[in-house]
């Protein structure tokens, strides 16, 4: 155990701590220079999260491999449960309220699913013989594994998470060696079905796309968020207006400044310099993940590591693209910075998996292990 701790990815933990620290500072500013209500709560969560990370890192990767499908199944059940008895929050069914004596919190199954899917796909592809990778029927299981949660998430409706699940799954399939022609075909199929997708979008989602394409057309309504985000961000300039001095954020012109638009607030207060700092930290985390993946001697570990990296980078890219007006608003949080319980914890669990892959990089996992379903 001590040896394992020695092999622990301390560099990763340091990076996570730095990034989260930046997040606490931002939440402090978002609350108007107050640790409550957000910064303090987030610190507690992070504390819990980082403990989880270390604990999971200690778990033998073969165990992870063994229970991968179980975890996936559990997440799927939770997603179904949301359909059945979810509590309504923010106009969309995403949470389940858990009332356990002493503690009451909300669980967002779609976040859990992002990680669970990575586990499941990693296991599946680990067990797939390379020569089978080119065949079409090897696609069936992954597509189902991806498709089921996507369908459930879309029904909530949560376009952003659905996109992330699909993209994450596709990345994993790509890394696992699925023939390129399937991806090309898949892309064409998606483009061809855009009209169908458009008509199946709900009213407010269509509005979001429309205002994305032209935010000026409804500056006081749907275009407000994007417009205000760009104004706040742009007016920050190179070096920002100063910590705690973000006028647009503090005067309520910027909505959701502690969640979706926290990057904007950071860019307003710390300028492009601050934004680049955060992006650099993220890139370092991603690079670390790549390093872990390439050093891993088993396919499961490699896929797991890069699956976590891919998921993580999707959060980052989608959120930043969203608040800078490059894509429509889809409600994806900024990892380690945005205020929010489930996303933070899920990520820390995911990093735990990454760390586990790192710690156990030299262990070989047979193609199939006994016990457990499948």
């Amino acid at each position: 155990m001590g040896q394992k701790l020695g092999g622990m990815s301390w560099g990763l933990l340091a990076l996570l701590l730095l990034t989260a620290g930046l997040g606490f500072a931002m939440l402090h500013s978002a609350a108007g220079g107050d640790m409550r209500p957000w910064a303090l709560a987030q610190m507690v969560r992070f504390g819990v999260g980082i403990t989880l990370t270390v604990m999971i890192a200690m778990i033998d990767i073969r165990q992870l491999h063994r229970f991968a499908y179980l975890v996936y199944g559990g997440a799927l059940l939770l997603l179904i449960a949301v359909e059945v008895k979810g509590s309504i929050g923010m106009g969309a069914q995403r949470w389940i309220e858990i009332d356990v004596p002493g503690v009451r919190f909300q669980l967002q199954p779609s976040e859990i699913m992002k990680v669970a899917l990575v586990l499941a796909l990693a296991r599946y592809f680990h067990g797939l013989a390379p020569e089978r990778a080119g065949r079409w029927f090897s696609l069936l299981v992954p597509l189902v594994l991806i498709g089921l949660p996507t369908a459930l998430v879309l029904r909530q409706p949560d376009l952003g998470t659905a996109m992330m699940i699909v993209a994450g799954g596709a990345a994993l399939m790509f890394l696992a060696g699925i023939a390129l022609r399937w991806f090309v075909g898949g892309a064409i199929a998606v483009l061809a079905s855009l009209p169908v997708i458009w008509s199946s979008l709900r009213g407010y989602q269509q509005d979001r796309v429309r205002t994305f394409l032209d935010p000026e057309s409804d500056p006081l309504g749907a275009g407000w968020n994007i417009l205000q985000s760009k104004i706040a961000l742009g007016s920050g300039g190179l070096f920002g207006k100063g910590f705690l001095e973000g006028s647009q954020s503090h005067l309520n012109f910027l909505p959701e400044k502690q969640t979706d638009f926290i990057f904007t607030m950071l860019a307003e207060e710390l300028g492009m310099a601050g934004a680049l700092l955060l992006i650099t930290l993220y890139m370092l985390i991603i690079a670390y993940g790549f390093g872990v993946a390439l050093r891993c001697s088993n396919q499961f570990g490699r896929l797991l590591a890069l699956g976590v990296v891919a998921t993580f980078s999707l959060y980052v890219f989608i959120n930043i693209a969203m608040v800078t007006g490059l894509i429509p608003i889809v409600g994806v949080p900024l990892p380690l910075i945005s205020y929010g319980g489930t996303a933070m914890l899920t990520l820390m669990v995911a990093f735990g998996l990454l760390a586990s892959a790192h710690v156990h990089r030299d262990i070989a996992i047979p193609r199939h292990t006994g016990g457990g379903p499948f």
Partner: protein
């Protein structure tokens, strides 16, 4: 190994893709935060900085001695900020015990406070009396969220005494909006007529601005900067309020006007149009009944008769005929004309007001007795063209450009005018009638006062002015009158005789007996209804005629006779005879003006010398 290599390759592809995406994001950030930063800075400021206007204090209007004619009075309104009170309804109840509050007011406030954000102040009641203000202020600790706001309201302390001079202010109408945001402030008042309107820009001042920082809900967070702007400038008028009040009382509730001028410099010492109205009523808003009453009153209180009332001058015009005849040498001062009471021209008989005529009269006598036949004859001999020219030199037939709204120009009829309007040539008989100031000719009271002023002045074409602006000269540069002084002396002597000669002077009853204040003048009676032969025979003058068909009474004058300084014109609508009705008013007003020394200008106690020395 194969698998691993493939993985590595694909991993690198993925890494490359991610780098591409990141570069895209960074490039976009660069665009927003560096290239377009200043645009967004402007938008950010637009978001949060709100410019609020501070209405300037309106300039006061005073008379020549500094007496306030239009002032600003503080007004108080009670305002409620609903987020600072627990229950709006309860607070309103408490307020209701201290001030007058109607059911309607309460309902309106409840509606407004629920409609608007909690920090927006809602006006509960305007125009609190001082007692109400003190009652509320004493109880303020028990009235959370309640504020007393102080504003300013225009007030005319002399009410209707100078209504037509000051005019009034009232709310800005749609048509008056220029895009100046100050005009759009609620409760802003702008001048509608009179001096308030003519000098609007001077009186208004410049609005100040207040830059406040607001949040997205419009709540003011703090004041960033403040610029107080400019209060309106004080406007000093030439009016002597004491004389103005006196003149108004003298004319009483008769319809008509009085104009008194300083004949050196044209200062309007009094300008009365009767009846008038209370300009304060317009500030608060008239009820529609009150407005209709004003509109439908047959004595037209809303019209400034002194400048807009157009009357035939009657016999007050005779001086013009006299001067035209003298200047052309048509008549000599001692030359006599025989008046038998009638005058024939063609197959038309014209009558003198005195049935049996005046016998032989010369010019001075004719003026003294106001003989019509004399002037029929002289007018015929002078001709309408020369009469018109003389009239224009004395200010008739055109606006005087006094600083008021709605001035009419009167009418001096010419051949060309008649041709253009009636399509007919000028008739000889019309010259006769014009010679005694009847017929087509129309003058306004202020024109008559100017005419009298120029006669009294004798040297310059005096023009009236109502306001003395900073740096204005005591005596403006007037154009020269260019009438030979000896001719004027003859006419002036005639006017002196009218008032001060007991034997036949038509206004002897109106003489001023005070030492050194003697007045010279001319009576006039403007026909409204043509007297028929039958009525003449029956001796039916206009005593029993209905009011609106009776003749107008006119009188023009200057004083004191030895060294003229004051000039005036009095017109009483449908007053009947000029000597009986208008002259006594002029006597009293001119006497009062001299006693008060209305022409004094404070800070300048040396009155300027005789105009003939000012060349």
């Amino acid at each position: 190994m194969d698998q691993r290599k493939q993985f590595t390759r694909r991993a690198l592809v993925l890494a490359g893709g991610q780098l591409l995406i990141v570069s895209g994001l960074v490039a976009n950030l660069y665009k927003l935060q560096v290239l377009e930063a200043s645009d967004y800075q402007v938008m950010a400021d637009d978001n949060r900085i709100n410019v609020r206007l501070l209405p300037p204090s309106r300039g006061l209007i005073t008379d020549r001695f500094g007496e306030g004619m239009a002032v600003n009075r503080p007004t108080y309104q009670l305002v409620l900020v609903s987020e600072q009170t627990e229950s709006v309804a309860e607070t309103l109840d408490s307020i209701g015990t201290l001030i007058e509050l109607s059911e309607r007011d309460i309902r309106w406030v409840l509606k407004e406070t629920s409609r608007r954000s909690g920090f927006v102040p809602v006006t509960v009641r305007e125009d609190l009396s001082w007692r109400e203000v003190t009652r509320v202020e004493v109880n303020l600790p028990e009235l959370p969220g309640v504020l007393i706001e102080e504003g300013q309201s225009r007030h005319y302390p002399h009410a209707d005494l100078a209504a037509h001079v000051t005019g009034y202010v009232s709310a800005v109408s749609e048509a008056e909006l220029t895009g100046d945001r100050l005009l759009e402030l609620p409760g802003f008042r702008t001048g509608k007529n009179g001096v308030e309107k003519i000098f609007e820009q001077t009186l208004r001042g410049a609005a100040g601005t207040r830059n406040v920082e607001v949040n997205a809900f419009g709540r003011v967070i703090r004041e960033i900067s403040r610029d107080e702007g400019e209060p309106g400038e004080e406007l000093k008028l030439t009016i002597d309020m004491g004389l103005q009040a006196f003149a108004t009382r003298q004319i009483g509730d008769q319809a008509g006007s009085v104009v008194v001028l300083d004949l050196f410099n044209g200062d309007v010492l009094a300008l009365v149009s009767s009846p008038a109205f209370d300009p304060n009523a317009f500030n608060y808003g008239l009820t529609s009944e009150a407005w209709q009453a004003l509109l439908n009153d047959p004595k037209s209180p809303l019209i400034n008769k002194a400048i807009a009332g157009q009357y035939p001058p009657g016999s007050t015009f005779k001086m013009m005929v006299a001067l035209a005849a003298l200047e052309d040498g048509i008549i000599q001062p001692e030359e006599e004309v025989y008046c038998p009471g009638t005058y024939e021209l063609g197959n038309h008989t014209f009558h003198c007001w005195r049935r049996w005529g005046h016998g032989d009269v010369n010019l001075t006598e004719a003026l003294k007795r106001s003989c019509d036949v004399f002037f029929y004859d002289v007018a015929r001999r002078v001709g309408i063209d020369r009469i018109v020219q003389m009239a224009e030199r004395f200010g008739l037939g055109g606006v005087t450009d006094v600083e008021l709204t709605g001035e009419r120009s009167g009418l001096v009829p010419t051949r060309a005018w008649k041709e253009a309007v009636y399509g007919e040539p000028w008739q000889g008989g019309e010259t006769l009638i014009t010679g005694i100031g009847q017929g087509f000719m129309l003058t306004t009271p202020i024109q008559l006062a100017v005419m009298a002023a120029r006669i009294g002045n004798g040297v310059f074409k005096v023009m009236p002015r109502l306001a003395r602006l900073d740096g204005a000269p005591d005596v403006p540069d007037f154009a020269p009158l260019d009438v030979a002084p000896e001719l004027l002396d003859i006419v002036r002597e005639g006017m002196n005789q009218v008032v001060n000669n007991p034997d036949g002077g038509t206004a002897y009853r109106a003489r001023i007996e005070d030492e050194g204040m003697a007045m010279a003048g001319k009576t006039g009676t403007a026909q409204v209804r043509r007297i028929t032969m039958a009525q003449r025979e029956a001796g039916d003058d206009d005593v029993e005629v209905p009011w609106n068909e009776r003749d107008h009474a006119l009188f023009v004058a200057y004083a004191p006779v030895e060294a003229p300084r004051y000039a005036c014109a009095v017109v009483v609508d449908h007053g009947g005879g000029g000597s009986a009705v208008a002259a006594p008013i002029a006597r009293d007003v001119m006497r009062e003006a001299q006693r008060r020394e209305s022409v004094r200008w404070p800070g300048n106690e040396e009155t300027p010398g005789d105009p003939e020395q000012v060349v």
